[in-house]
């Protein structure tokens, strides 16, 4: 769909350049990870650590949403799947007394199962119709949370969820726990995207007719993409439930889904790093303006508008954009010299 000739020519530079670029990217990634891992030494305020922990959770959710996007579907109910993970883990832990360490993977599997069951009938919906179908389904899930009575806490929300670590633990262990969870999930999703399955998914996104003509089972791969995306979003949701110990259906409503979509789109949906950058920008930058209190949503809206009007490919295209400004400038000068 997006692979024009221009992009193809971009993809075939000399081999040494790509190897070099790969090492630079790897070095930057490792540097950022080390920096984030050392951050608790500098940041002592529990509030900032809390914000970072939430950022890690939302990063998993945003990247898993992009996994579904790579198959050409546009899910608008992903927040509700996060809710399924959160509520199933919280309810099993609270009402059956299981340990949170056990319920989190179980909840992720439950979310994956529900996602794949729903993915089966939804595989026949495409583009806009899939987006709308998943939106309505997500709304239905939220209403079920509200209607659940004492089992789900209803409108007032579910409280008293067993925490992951003993009560009174500081934020630092949680920080490293969720950093580790995020790293493992991102690594898994990265491997998935560049595996044979991920490449098939991209082929389906470009043209489902061509993909099925070369023997790719479109419906099954779409269900698989939804299943993998739901597994990791369920994991994120379950972690969220046992970290905050309080849940409300509002946390997973349509607006929450839209913000997840914004994290992906603002970073750039064509790149794996896009949703990660987008989540960090959209969660952390408004936090710097926390003193503005009620006005902070304006900051998020401003970031959105800046990206929409200046960077059509999202924030990941910023270095390329800056480079192209410089080269165009230089070229222009050369032309004037020549003439």
């Amino acid at each position: 769909m997006d692979m024009s000739d221009k992009q193809l020519s971009d993809m075939t530079p000399s081999k040494t350049a790509t190897v070099q670029e790969k090492w630079i990217k790897l070095a930057i990634t490792a540097g950022v990870v080390v920096l984030i891992a050392l951050l608790p030494l500098l940041l002592t305020s529990p509030y900032m650590l809390h914000i970072f922990i939430l950022t890690f959770i939302y990063t998993i959710a945003a990247v898993s949403l992009r996994t579904i996007l790579t198959s050409g579907q546009f899910p608008l109910g992903h927040g509700a799947f996060m809710g399924i993970g959160a509520y199933s883990s919280a309810m099993i832990a609270k009402w059956l007394g299981w340990s949170p360490w056990l319920t989190i993977p179980v909840a992720a599997l439950v979310t994956m199962g529900i996602g794949m069951l729903i993915g089966y009938p939804f595989a026949r919906l495409r583009t806009l119709y899939y987006a709308m179908g998943s939106l309505f389904f997500g709304m239905g899930i939220i209403y079920i949370f509200y209607a659940g009575g004492s089992l789900t806490g209803g409108y007032s929300g579910l409280t008293g969820i067993p925490p992951l670590l003993p009560i009174g633990t500081s934020k630092v262990p949680y920080y490293y726990l969720f950093l580790g969870l995020a790293l493992v999930s991102l690594l898994a999703l990265y491997r998935f995207e560049f595996s044979r399955i991920g490449i098939n998914l991209k082929a389906i996104a470009q043209s489902h007719l061509v993909a099925s003509s070369v023997g790719i089972n479109e419906g099954w791969y779409r269900i698989l993409a939804v299943g993998v995306g739901c597994f990791f979003v369920g994991l994120a949701g379950a972690g969220y439930a046992h970290y905050t110990t309080v849940l409300s259906g509002n946390n997973f409503s349509f607006m929450a889904t839209l913000w997840l979509v914004m994290y992906v789109l603002i970073g750039g949906k064509d790149s794996f790093a896009g949703p990660i950058i987008g989540t960090f920008i959209l969660v952390l930058i408004p936090e710097f303006f926390r003193d503005l209190k009620i006005y902070t949503p304006f900051i998020s809206a401003a970031i959105l508008l800046i990206v929409v009007f200046i960077m059509p490919q999202g924030l990941v295209s910023l270095p390329k954009l800056v480079r192209s400004w410089f080269t165009e400038h230089r070229k222009g000068r050369r032309i004037t010299h020549a003439s």
Partner: protein, 287 residues
């Protein structure tokens, strides 16, 4: 008896309001495939501007309704020119722009008016009584205004030159260009009418129920349900889906308490969508 009368009036009012908002949404969606996720916020702002005219400036309700409609409609032209037109055909950026607009509008209202729920004063006082059942004039007027505007909108789309040009653009935008239709002017007009209808619905619902900064989210989803189930390019289909959804929303809460009725409604919608993804009256589009 009392319950039946209340349910029926509820059904008529909800249906007419849903259809008003959805029609406004459909004008832009059918023509330019713009998924205006800010439509709910525009509907909400309409209610608050009407409230400001009545409460702060002390205008007559009907004049306030008219002025609000004109202001929001003019805002619609502005929106179409600066935030929709540059991104026609780019679904992702349209979604981002609309979310940004919705966030700005909701935050502004939240700052100015606070998150406490307010209500517009009723447009007409008094209760109509006939034998055992009674209906407030307010509800009858709400329904009458809604129905009149609906009739007007349908007449406009089917019988006037501009409306037919809109239909031509919805069917084939390149063909419309070749026929000499001024697509820019017509899409600005569509945005003008769409936002105006949303503002009227916002004022009427603000008097019928209450106002809140986030009331638009729910209405947006109702409008999406109506438009998608009706199918792209169908105006009369929106009437049918609006009546069905209004009936469900009015009747189900009587039978099932709480959020369960909403869950059932949305479940029915999902099943209908799976049965006929392209909608019951329109045609399928690729985006």
């Amino acid at each position: 008896m009392e319950l039946i009368v209340a349910t029926v009036t509820n059904f008529l009012i909800l249906s007419s309001m849903y259809i008003l908002v959805a029609l406004g949404f459909a004008f832009l969606f059918n023509m330019l495939r713009i998924l205006n996720l800010a439509h709910g916020a525009i509907y909400m702002v309409g209610g608050y501007i009407g409230l400001a005219f009545i409460m702060i400036l002390g205008f007559n309700q009907w004049i306030a309704l008219l002025l609000t409609t004109l202001i929001i409609a003019a805002f619609g032209i502005f929106l179409e020119k600066f935030s929709f037109r540059p991104f026609v055909g780019d679904f992702n950026r349209i979604v981002m722009v609309c979310v940004a607009i919705a966030v700005v509008l909701q935050t502004a209202v939240n700052i100015i008016a606070g998150s406490k729920t307010l209500a517009l004063p009723p447009f007409v006082e008094g209760v109509f009584r006939a034998g055992t059942f009674s209906v407030s004039y307010e509800r009858m007027v709400t329904f009458a205004v809604g129905a009149a505007l609906l009739g007007l909108a349908i007449w406009f789309v089917n019988r006037t030159r501009w409306g037919q040009q809109m239909q031509a653009i919805a069917q084939d935008i390149e063909g419309a260009y070749l026929q000499g239709i001024n697509v820019r002017r017509i899409s600005a007009l569509a945005s003008f009418i769409g936002c105006g209808l949303a503002a009227v619905a916002g004022c009427l619902m603000g008097a019928y129920l209450r106002l809140g900064p986030y009331m638009g989210d729910l209405m947006l989803i109702k409008a999406l349900i109506l438009v998608i189930l009706a199918g792209v390019g169908s105006v009369s289909g929106i009437l049918v889906t609006g009546l069905v959804l209004g009936a469900l929303d009015a009747a189900l809460p009587v039978l099932v308490p709480g959020a369960g009725s909403d869950a059932i409604t949305v479940g029915i919608v999902v099943v209908l969508l799976l049965i006929r993804p392209q909608g019951f009256f329109g045609y399928e589009i690729e985006m």
